[in-house]
Symmetry: C2
Subunit: 343 residues, 2 copies
DNA sequence: TCTAGAACTTTACGCGCGTAAAATTTTTCT
DNA sequence: AGAAAAATTTTACGCGCGTAAAGTTCTAGA
């Protein structure tokens, strides 16, 4: 039980009867030493409790075992969920995930990139803010650090993009809504921060055309990341103004839909597809709480796990190939319609 | 525009016509050099873009400018909110916040502590898992690193605790509910992970005694961090079994309440205090989405900002005093009742 | 048993910066 | 103006480890 305090690798190597470079090699790759040597080190490790100094390790090394994860807004459960999956996958692969939130601001996003750059990460997984992002800052960063974008695409940035297929999302909801009732009106923010929103609107218009219906887009004002409140107020005024020409609302994303549901409740409008319901509300994302709204939200679900694992795999490939892929790839995962009570 | 690439401080010092130690001093505290010197450095900084190597900086330094932030579950918006405030405050004070989530598991929590230890942080702000935490691991950690606990208290651990006054939370909701209608039944998890839950139950029983009412505690089974689903299923069976002896339910926290609201909706029970309502539901925390539930949730609100700023201040004090406070303090902030439509 | 090749040890250097001590310059005060 | 105080420079060392090169020991295969 003499958990002696070890100061450095030199000392630890001496205590385990090996040379420091051998021990160093072990810590960089346990399989690179002979099995008997490995056992000796690991036994000593149990007796003496030693961890190499992180700063010394990384100082004299081109690229570290760090992987940066940047999300636009961590208090959004969708990104919290993404971050959790990605973090776990990186850690399992022996990397050191470093999670940074841009808190919804481009200055913070750029700061995060600067901060990451000085950590010399092996790679970075980034979900950019979107419209608000400082493109040139991201471009400069991607030149220096192998980067995979996820969730929101920015054309040409990074070595790969992994996200969800917005067309698939919208097609599934529109098809379902059209065949089960009145065609949907589309509800969104006028100036969405996220590029996915634009793709969803376009996809909606095309899907409606395919069904031979006239598209109705209701765009509400609002800035920032308080989507629920924007949705709530927007729904109030849109309903009051009679902007919804059918009894079915398709929201650009779940957080807006949560606001819409709140507004409907406040106005005494029953939402759902049963008798006595005034409105149907559907949406996209499968926000972690969308199962618990009243009524539970019908939505097109992200394949969170697929996006996380594929973007991580892409990054690992990149890292193994020295950071350059030559060919920028875009991978989109289709949605999975989750029919609940709201539509 | 010749944004020359600077390799190290030596080079940068030469270019700005100063000695390296002076520049080093500047980076450790810009006010420690003469104003004219400072200007010279900052002008050079604009021309040459140089940032000291983080690893080299920290290697030969007792304690760094890092501040660890550990939360039990980052996908819980309550903790996301806490983390966001604290992160911002630390960054503003010139520290480098490092955010880690324990993902609801004690192994991960201990790993986070190990990981932090090797980063030699100036201090750590930690919201422990609670019951699941490895007490001895935390105790060992607190011996080495100045630590302030927040949100969940663990007796005797860390140099200070900053949280919310659960008695105040419960008193306000119970008082309000008793004077505005039938006395509340208390709804909670049987084996809550979080120590606050126990305090809330106790406070409920005492508050009911003060009002001369019999307490009714409905405890439901369930493990993990899926509180909404636990609340939903628990509410279904409790309602079916007639466990609630009054028309008023006081939930231990908002996430459970969100589940209860979902169950009520599914059973066609109208929640609220108006005519035609079968149940009143109230809760504690002021979860970021509790404003958007249907109906909007009446709840006792955390003073997130106060907890964040005070725990950060406590930690800064600690750091300035060399990590030891001598006297462990506990600071509790009272709740602020937010009356909405649900009760 | 011999030998190629892998694994290891020894030796040596460098990374970029913190930091201490002594010498020097600049500022501030009398 | 002179002296004390403060800021800066010079010099020098160390942090803990990565890593390369050269020599040595071990392992595996014939």
């Amino acid at each position: 039980m003499s958990k002696h305090k070890i100061r450095n690798m030199e000392q630890f190597a001496a205590l385990s009867g090996l040379s420091r470079p051998t021990v160093s090699k072990y810590f960089n790759d346990p399989d690179s030493v002979r099995p008997t040597t490995r056992r000796r080190i690991e036994e000593a490790l149990e007796r003496y409790e030693f961890r190499p100094n992180i700063y010394a390790i990384n100082q004299n090394r081109r690229l570290t075992k760090n992987i940066g994860i940047v999300v636009p807004y961590l208090a959004d459960p969708v990104f919290a969920e993404h971050a959790r999956s990605i973090e776990t996958l990186c850690a399992e692969a022996g990397f050191r995930p470093i999670l940074l939130s841009s808190h919804g601001g481009s200055e913070q996003e750029s700061e995060n990139l600067d901060s990451l750059r000085s950590l010399k990460p092996a790679g970075v997984l980034m979900a950019p803010l979107g419209r608000a992002s400082d493109r040139s800052a991201i471009e400069r960063f991607c030149r220096d650090v192998p980067t995979v974008l996820f969730d929101s695409n920015i054309e040409g940035m990074g070595e790969a993009f992994v996200g969800s297929d917005n067309v698939s999302f919208v097609n599934q909801t529109v098809d379902y809504l059209c065949r089960s009732g009145e065609p949907p009106c589309f509800f969104e923010m006028r100036t969405p921060a996220n590029p996915n929103a634009n793709k969803r609107r376009t996809a909606y218009i095309e899907a409606m055309a395919r069904h031979g219906e006239d598209p109705v887009v209701v765009a509400v004002e609002g800035d920032g990341w308080g989507f629920e409140e924007i949705g709530r107020q927007g729904a109030h005024s849109a309903i009051a103004a009679g902007d919804f020409t059918t009894n079915t609302i398709l929201c650009s994303n779940d957080r807006l839909a949560i606001g819409v549901l709140a507004a409907c409740y406040e106005r005494g409008l029953r939402v759902g597809r049963g008798p006595g319901c005034a409105l149907r509300v559907a949406s996209h994302d499968d926000h972690p709480f969308s199962r618990f709204t009243c009524p539970a939200l019908t939505t097109a679900a992200h394949d969170y796990a697929a996006v996380a694992s594929h973007s991580v795999e892409k990054l690992f490939e990149l890292i193994e190939n020295g950071g350059k892929s030559g060919q920028r790839t875009e991978t989109l995962f289709p949605a999975n319609l989750v029919v609940r009570a709201s539509a």
